[in-house]
């Protein structure tokens, strides 16, 4: 079975990975200064989970970010 390998999907996956990476960096920076911030920690955990799911989807379809 082959995948579509089309640019629109590739672009969406890569853009969303960048969005997540930027958000994770922002939350981590905030948590260094405010380690007790539960809400920021919740968002960071969710973003990590989303990134894991996204990377799995990219690996599955052979669209790793080089």
């Amino acid at each position: 079975m082959q995948l579509a390998g089309n640019s629109q999907v590739d672009l969406a996956l890569r853009q969303n990975l960048r969005t997540l990476n930027a958000f994770i960096a922002e939350c981590e920076q905030h948590l260094k200064q405010n380690p007790q911030d539960e809400l920021a920690r919740e968002y960071l955990n969710t973003a990590y989970q989303q990134k894991a799911d996204l990377l799995a989807a990219m690996m599955e379809s052979g669209r790793g970010e080089n």
């Binding site: 629109q8 969406a12 969303n16 958000f23 905030h30 809400l39 969710t46 973003a47 989807a57």
Partner: protein, 294 residues
């Protein structure tokens, strides 16, 4: 003179050849339409995995059958359909490494009984479901999901696609990275919306005893409620702002003993009516807006 004629003849042959090539390409690349009917007895389950691009449209009818209509280019996309009892499995996959998106596209139009369970997945292209009752899981990478008059336990997962849910009832879960969600005129008893950077709009009533959770990392979370609603509100944001445009309708939260508002830079706790439903809104750095509909 002779040379000119020869040149013209050669030009004509080339033109004819080009026309023939264009025509044959057009014929080879023209989409093929298929329609298949599957009789069902009870409430069917329809599973559609569109691994290529394309739109999926689902509508209901009173007939005890599932009708699958598809359009794709035959030698570029393989469509497999299998019926096992009341379950219909449909998959579309690419036979081609063509970089042209339209060549690896399969568009589906399904007609199902009103009570049908759905599991639909596509890469790009709209997923549209109208007047279907049943649990559904809808997944898309870059395509939007539009639902109208659907009911059941609805799970929508996108990477960048947005959700518009109009007149939905039952339970709704939405997760996305950059997609937004609009929930309009709902009758939902349980709502859980989460996006990292998209916006969320909830415009409708909160059903008593319902639980509504809406979270956006960086986007706007906007709730428009009616004067008859009854809910406890908990809105909090780290770096964003809470824009309370309904201060006249929000009383201090009478049920609360647990709030530690000081932990959040901006937070709001309050009660509308008797506080029968529970509404939790949060954003990391976006705005939370609360307003009453006119």
């Amino acid at each position: 003179m002779h040379r000119t004629i020869k040149h013209r003849q050669s030009f004509s042959v080339w033109s004819f050849g080009l026309l023939l090539f264009a025509a044959s390409t057009a014929i080879a690349a023209s989409p093929e339409h298929q329609e298949r009917h599957f009789s069902v007895k009870g409430h069917p389950v329809v599973v559609l995995q569109n691994i290529v691009n394309g739109r999926i449209e689902v509508k209901s009818s009173k007939n005890p059958e599932v009708v699958v209509s598809s359009t794709s280019i035959a030698d570029k996309v393989a469509i497999d359909i299998e019926q096992v009892g009341d379950r219909i499995d449909i998959s579309a996959s690419s036979l081609s490494s063509s970089p042209l998106p339209h060549e690896v596209e399969a568009n589906f139009q399904l007609t199902v009984p009103e009570q049908t369970e759905l599991q639909l997945k596509t890469q790009t292209g709209l997923i549209y479901v109208e007047q279907v009752t049943g649990d559904m899981k809808l997944e898309s990478v870059a395509g939007d999901v539009h639902l109208k008059e659907v009911s059941g336990y609805i799970i929508v997962k996108t990477t960048g696609g947005s959700l518009v849910c109009t007149l939905c009832s039952g339970k709704l879960e939405f997760t996305s990275i950059s997609g937004g969600a609009q929930v309009l005129q709902p009758s939902l008893t349980n709502v859980n919306l989460m996006t990292t950077s998209g916006n969320i709009l909830y415009d409708g009533d909160f059903i008593r005893t319902g639980i509504y959770t809406m979270r956006s990392g960086k986007g706007l979370v906007e709730v428009r409620f009616s004067g008859n609603d009854s809910f406890d509100l908990n809105a909090r944001t780290n770096l964003g702002v809470v824009d309370n445009q309904a201060a006249a309708f929000l009383k201090p939260d009478t049920h609360a003993s647990r709030h530690s508002a000081a932990r959040y830079a901006h937070s709001l706790f309050g009660t509308v009516g008797q506080g029968l439903a529970k509404v939790e809104l949060s954003s990391y750095s976006g705005t939370i807006r609360i307003l009453k509909r006119n």
